[in-house]
């Protein structure tokens, strides 16, 4: 039985409550212990329940934990249920596992902070909501987690709230996410009134059943609409075009937060959601295509911005946006497992990269500008090696984790069964983006760790390797970035490695039952071509070559001719340079297109419509009119006997005249 699943979110919740309520009084060691222990326990329970899952027959792998009925009105009934299956199993291990490492890292990184307890309270709260998001057995419980992690993110981005720009970044993140959630909510409404439920275990079988009975056609408008609305939510949470703008600003938060929330876990929620809804997306090929195209555009677009960022965290932020794009390409081209695979490997190497950058920033005394760094490799060898490994992983060099997952996605895009031609375009964009990724990531490595130190002497004096509480998580994550991909070895390579008993793709096989219905639909409705093995080999080789090319270019510009080439290029392509350097002015465009007009509209509504038109003219107007008219008529009653006498006389004359004239 799985009636203990609730423990997974419960531990972090308790940690949050203790640290939040009394954390200030119990001292830093106690706070760290509670913070880490709660997430560690959640990880242990996750392992236990995952193990229980493995004991079951692959097709029976669903553990449900019913807690209580949340709301029920008429036909609308929502249970607070947790569901552990292969998909949420993988997710929960990533969330609690990486989360645990980052908690430990934080004890070192945040050691000096005066609001240490508040930090751990928020971090625990984040893990709690993330567990709800992942384990929720219906869309509404997922939505609780979905908005909850947004709240944690808001609080942690604005953690150093004394800086107004941090608070501003937090607010921006919350509001942009709210715009996405607006779509998510509408998607849920439409889903409920279409399928009569929000529970995964009811909606998907029902959709499948309707489809098999012929009541629901492939690409039925209602399903396309549901998928697109849900995807609006995903673009917010997972920072895709057009709602990605909050993520780079979110780097205002402490670096471990960037690693946990804004790289490894929260921002991948959208990918998880699409993978979770795989049956719906498979039934709505148009929506899948939109997902894949938006994703490919984001992957390429964000990668180009990454080229010219000088803030080490901003580079990683745009890289995250770009990598999320790859995950969405995966789930968009119906290769759901590949998207989740990349989600997992990305969690390893991107968390590692962020934590390494945190280690660098720690050493630099808070400075994040790569122009002030250089030559740190000698001073911080552990950080250097781990970061280099993670960078090789993200650049997609075999046999590191990123190679397997990214290459699988690109290959699946190339062989996109619903829209083969579009698939080729998406593949091309993805491959190009991969080259750019390798370039900007090695630019980061070279600018940070190679060459001569360019910071102040004071900083140079202060440079040091971080304490073990920080480096141990780095080492673990770097190791995972190396080996993490080996559980998902493509059939082609598996076959080549051992012809007689091919190395299996464990990851794909494990997730198979979650996605098998989708695969079945795709294989009957899509256009399945059989591509020759040499093509897959050569595409694989091509992407490695592209990555190597990117690295070589970065080496050429930022190592060999660092003193003159970057500056010369900037001058030569000034317009392009400015455009990319200023992130295509997207923030400014949004500001002038949406923020300012809405602001002025509101001021107009307030001052003109409300105060002037409705209140002054509409409400007080009649009052004023009555007053003026009475003021006029009251002149008649002036209190003088003579006037009244005159009125009487006039009246008398009028009456007389009337009667006399009439007669």
């Amino acid at each position: 039985m799985a009636d203990y699943l609730y423990l997974i979110p419960l531990f972090p919740l308790i940690g949050f409550l203790i640290n939040g309520l009394v954390g200030k009084r119990i001292g830093k060691p106690m706070v760290s212990m509670i913070g880490c222990l709660s997430v560690g326990s959640a990880f242990l329970v996750s392992l236990l329940s995952f193990n229980e899952l493995l004991q079951l027959d692959p097709h029976q792998r669903q553990l449900v934990n019913h807690l209580w009925t949340w709301m029920s009105v008429g036909a609308f009934k929502v249970e607070v249920n947790f569901l552990l299956d292969q998909l949420s199993g993988v997710m929960i291990l990533v969330v609690t596992g990486v989360g645990f490492l980052i908690h430990i890292y934080s004890t070192g990184y945040m050691h000096e902070d005066e609001s240490y307890w508040r930090y751990f309270a928020y971090l625990n709260m984040f893990v709690f909501f993330m567990c709800c998001l992942v384990l929720g057995a219906n869309y509404l419980v997922m939505f609780v987690g979905w908005e909850g992690v947004g709240l944690a993110s808001y609080l942690l981005i604005g953690f150093w709230y004394k800086g107004m720009e941090n608070a501003e970044a937090g607010k921006k993140a919350f509001i942009v996410n709210r715009i996405g959630d607006f779509g998510f909510a509408l998607g849920m409404f439409l889903m409920f009134w279409t399928f009569g439920s929000l529970s995964y275990l009811e909606v998907f079988p029902k959709a499948l059943h309707l489809f098999e009975q012929g009541h629901l056609l492939l690409n039925a408008p209602v399903v396309v609409a549901i998928c697109l609305l849900l995807f609006v939510g995903a673009t917010g949470k997972s920072a895709q075009i057009p709602l990605y703008v909050w993520l780079p600003d979110a780097m205002a938060g402490p670096t471990p937060v960037s690693a946990l929330i804004h790289a490894a876990t929260m921002v991948t929620a959208g990918v998880y959601m699409v993978a979770r809804s795989n049956i719906l997306y498979t039934l709505a090929p148009t929506a899948s295509l939109v997902v894949a195209l938006v994703a490919a555009a984001t992957a390429l677009f964000a990668a180009t911005i990454g080229i010219l960022q000088n803030d080490i965290k901003k580079v990683l932020a745009y890289s995250t946006v770009s990598q999320l794009g790859y995950m969405f390409i995966g789930v968009g081209v119906t290769a759901y497992w590949a998207g989740i695979f990349h989600l997992m490997t990305h969690a390893f190497f991107k968390a590692c990269l962020f934590l390494c950058s945190g280690s660098v920033i720690h050493a630099m005394g808070g400075d994040q500008d790569m122009r002030n760094m250089g030559g740190l490799a000698k001073k911080m060898p552990i950080t250097y090696v781990t970061m280099l490994l993670a960078t090789l992983a993200i650049a997609g060099l075999p046999p590191l984790a990123g190679f397997f997952s990214k290459d699988e996605i690109l290959w699946k895009a190339f062989t996109y069964p619903y829209f083969p031609a579009m698939g080729k375009i998406i593949w091309f964009m993805g491959t190009l983006g991969a080259g750019i990724t390798a370039f900007y990531m090695f630019r980061l490595i070279f600018m940070t760790f190679h060459g001569d130190f360019r910071g102040t002497p004071e900083q140079a004096h202060h440079l040091h390797e971080s304490p073990p509480s920080m480096t141990v998580p780095l080492i673990i994550l770097a190791a995972l970035s190396v080996v993490g991909g080996w559980i998902g070895i493509p059939h082609l390579i598996g076959h080549a490695l051992n012809h007689h008993s091919p190395v299996p793709n464990l990851f794909e096989t494990f997730l198979e039952p979650v996605f098998e219905h989708s695969e079945h639909i795709v294989s009957t409705k899509g256009m399945i071509h059989h591509y020759p093995a040499w093509l897959e080999w050569s595409l694989m080789g091509l992407s490695v070559a592209v990555a190597l090319g990117g690295i070589a270019m970065a080496f050429h510009i930022y190592i060999r001719r660092f003193h003159e080439l970057p500056a010369r290029l900037a001058k030569q392509y000034a317009i392009h340079y400015q455009l990319v350097y200023n992130k295509y002015y997207v923030d400014e465009i949004y500001y002038y297109m949406f923020v300012l007009p809405i602001y002025y509209l509101s001021v107009f509504l307030w001052k003109v419509v409300d105060v002037l038109c409705i209140d002054k003219i509409g409400v007080n107007g009649p009052g004023w009119l009555v007053k003026r008219v009475s003021a006029g008529t009251s002149l008649i009653h002036d209190g003088y006997m003579q006037t009244y006498g005159a009125y009487m006389l006039l009246g008398l004359v009028a009456i007389l005249a009337f009667f006399l004239g009439y007669r």
């Binding site: 949340w70 709240l151 004394k162 602001y599 509101s602």
Partner: protein, 526 residues
Amino acid sequence: MTQPILLYITFLPLIAIPFIMAIPQKSDALKDVIRWIALMISVVVFFVSLRLYFAFDPSNPGFQFVEHHEWIKKYGISYFMGLDGLSFWLVMLTTFLTPVTIISTWKAITNRVKEFMVAMLVLESAMLGTFLALDLFLFYVFWEIMLIPMFLIIGVWGGERRIYAAVKFFLYTAVGSLLMLVCIIGLVYFHKQSSGEITFNLLSLYGTSLPRIYEILFFAAFALAFAIKVPMFPLHTWLPDAHVEAPTAGSVILAGILLKMGTYGFIRFAMPLFPEGSAYFTPLIIVLSIIGIIYGALVAMVQPDIKKLVAYSSVSHLGYCMLGLYVLTGQGVEGSILQMVNHGISTGALFLLVGVIYERRHTRLIEEYGGIARVMPVYSTIFLIVTLSSIGFPTTNGFVGEFLILLGAFKVNKAAAVLAASGVVLGAVYMLWMVQRVFYGEIKNPKNLLLKDLNLREFAYLAPLIILIFWIGLYPNFFLGKMHVSVERFIRQVKVEAPAGHAIVRNIEGSRFTALDLSRAKKQER
């Protein structure tokens, strides 16, 4: 029922008045005695009302705890009170919020404490009467009595422009109610025409057949009176003025309970008495609700005064309530009633919180603050929780209400639901922007450096509200469970069949249900 609980809770507050009147308010100690008496009696009322929770039968769609006594026999006027699932939580909200409000005035009201407490108790009594009355005449009496203490609270204990605000509040509401009175009499007249009996009994008047034009006119007059109270756009401009000038306690009661009189009026009177008129105006009301939601949010965004911001946010929130009522789906109506309670809790809490810093700094301008999260951490945390409730964050009460309303609306009118849902985004914008400017950043104003965090008394009256925020958010079935059957009855009663030819045929089942209510009521009376 053997014990007339409704009589007790309605008139218990008045019992304390002679005692309070007898105490001279010469010293602070004596003022404290007055405060304690008022608090005690309101707490007693709350505990008595808790009995309703246990005795209320959630499977009975009709009225319970009915009390029926003849009053002015000649005109068929009676003292007729009863409670059903529609009014249940509003009554509980009233008995709950009154003691909370009284505690909040402990230090804020030092001038004419005696008169203030008398006004509060009269107000409580009148509010409860309004929610419980089932005789139109009795209802009207309570409805009008309610105005007087509120008028005094704003006009005597208010801010600088209190007289203007109080008069505006009074005239605005009175204009609407007078038209309603005319139509009440008209309705009774038509009822006599068809049945030969003069009665103000609401249950008898349900289902009175009126000429269509009168049905529409009467509905319009009732709706006007209630829409002013809600307030619906564009009849809302008395609200910001009243809130800004009212003392904290006045704002809490005004936003927390008085506004609900408007929406309650629609549920209990305007809609079931005149279903055809209601159907006729449905498109207009839905449009005005949506305008209210978006307009209220936008105008709230640019307010420099926190209280005004909250006041305009009420226009937005009440827009949801009206929308939920008018989509006439189970989810919409239950969400709407729940949202009335939610709004009472979260907006009440917001006004209390604004009152806390107002007592310390005597200003409510956002620009006067900034960075106070550092000096008032507990206060800031509670403010943030209430903010989350106000913007409908899941696990808080606001989410459940808004979600149900929008879900219900989506079934009937997708465009309306989409537009209304955009208000959820705007809600986050204006609330979080305000929070950012008040709590975050550096402390720029040196006066804020010495701000004291919440004291025990302040914490004590805020804590129950916080508990309720999460209680409703996590386990709304506890609250929704009391409504289901009454809401089903209400929907059957109000829903009119689609126009067949020229005539709109009233839902027959609806009138049958009213008859059932009547027989039940009579049975209970015996």
